[in-house]
């Protein structure tokens, strides 16, 4: 039985093969999975906000796209992953509530996905697949066997990216 590792909100985990990493109920948050296909070392971070600089207190680095991805990468490298081999898949960044009022300007989901892509670009990590946006929640699961990412939704079924 392969160990299933839960990643909570504002949380990150890295693991050696064999493992399955999962995070449940992504809304406007973004789940970022990093995978080294050679060593099969896998990592996942569940970020809530785009940038650590907007917050006054930022003790939990896994909460933000900028610091969370950097920390996850470092943890995977310390487990023996090769920096050059690592590829990414991302999911989430939905807008759960549609407001007709003035609060509409704050689409944190879209800002989270944009920031995530920007950070990965700066780190030179290619994004192999993504499933972002929309207005629905997602549960994701990555297998260290092949780096396949399962995206599960309530209204749109299950897909693999």
């Amino acid at each position: 039985m392969i160990e299933m590792i839960r990643v909570g909100m504002a949380d990150l985990k890295a693991s050696r093969h064999p493992s399955i990493l999962t995070t449940l109920g992504l809304g406007s948050c973004v789940g970022i999975t990093l995978y080294d296909p050679k060593t099969k070392i896998t990592g996942m971070v569940h970020i809530m906000l785009p940038c650590s600089k907007i917050a006054s207190a930022n003790t939990n680095r896994a909460k933000f796209a900028d610091t969370g991805i950097v920390d996850l990468l470092a943890e995977m490298i310390s487990l023996g992953a090769n920096r050059k081999e690592i590829v990414a898949k991302i999911a989430g960044g939905a807008q759960m509530f549609n407001f007709t009022g003035p609060t509409n300007t704050l689409n944190i989901g879209a800002r989270n996905s944009e920031a995530t892509k920007q950070v990965l670009k700066e780190l030179g990590i290619p994004i192999l697949a993504e499933d972002v946006g929309g207005s629905y929640g997602r549960t994701i699961e990555i297998s260290s066997e092949n780096g396949r990412l399962m995206v599960k939704t309530i209204g749109y079924g299950v897909k693999y990216i």
Binding site: M9, A10, L24, G25, G27, M48, K63, F97, G101, S135
Partner: protein, 207 residues
């Protein structure tokens, strides 16, 4: 505002005060719901939860359970979010009562049903907040409600994200309503931001 209150180390006295805030707010909301449905509504003693973000998705019977969430932004002297969450069965029962159908009739959530639920959320949240406002003498208003039918974790992450800008834990004041044998279980989550939470305690003279 200078205060020695730390959300990560909240004491039991402050928790009791917050619980009482939740109790009074929910009492008013329950009365509003009872009037709306013309049924007797009971409520449970509210739960106060101070949670780490990583624990948020475990509330409400699991992150993946499908629920109806009605979310309103709170503005005025305190800011934050108020979310009214119903499981699917309860939401359907509520709609059936409102529309004079048999309580367990299979009803799809079309635009009419969702807007009815949205309005119920609006009325209940309004009752909740106005009693808070009376109690604290603070000006508290709510924005237009938004509704989502989806995974509990995804819905509750929305107020958590709002809260997350300045804090690593989230404070939920959770209320539960039931009525008769045909229970409608609805949870209220009041999620003030950290400054507002201190302001609430200050207004009650306990900070």
């Amino acid at each position: 505002m200078k205060s020695d209150i730390d959300l990560n180390n909240i004491n039991s006295f402050h928790l009791d005060v917050l619980k009482e805030i939740g109790n009074i707010g929910a009492g008013n909301a329950a009365t509003a719901l009872a009037k709306l449905l013309n049924k007797r509504i009971d409520m449970k003693v509210p739960q106060i939860r101070v949670m780490k973000f990583s624990e948020v998705s475990d509330v409400l019977g699991g992150a993946e359970s499908e629920v109806v969430g009605i979310l309103l932004g709170v503005t005025g002297d305190i800011t934050g979010n108020i979310v009214f969450v119903l499981d699917l069965l309860s939401a359907r029962r509520l709609v059936n009562i409102l529309f004079g159908k048999h309580i367990d009739e299979e009803t799809e959530f079309g635009s009419l049903e969702t807007s009815a639920l949205q309005e119920v959320g609006n009325i209940l949240a309004g009752a909740y907040l106005s009693s808070l406002s009376n109690l604290t003498n603070l000006r508290i208003m709510s924005n237009i409600p938004g509704i989502a039918i989806d995974m509990a974790g995804a819905i509750l992450s929305v107020p958590a994200v709002e809260f997350g800008k300045n804090s690593d834990t989230v404070l939920y004041i959770e209320n539960e309503f039931t009525y008769g044998n045909n229970s409608v279980v609805g949870d209220f989550f009041l999620v003030p931001d950290e400054a507002s939470y201190i302001r609430l305690l200050n207004a009650l003279g306990v900070a």
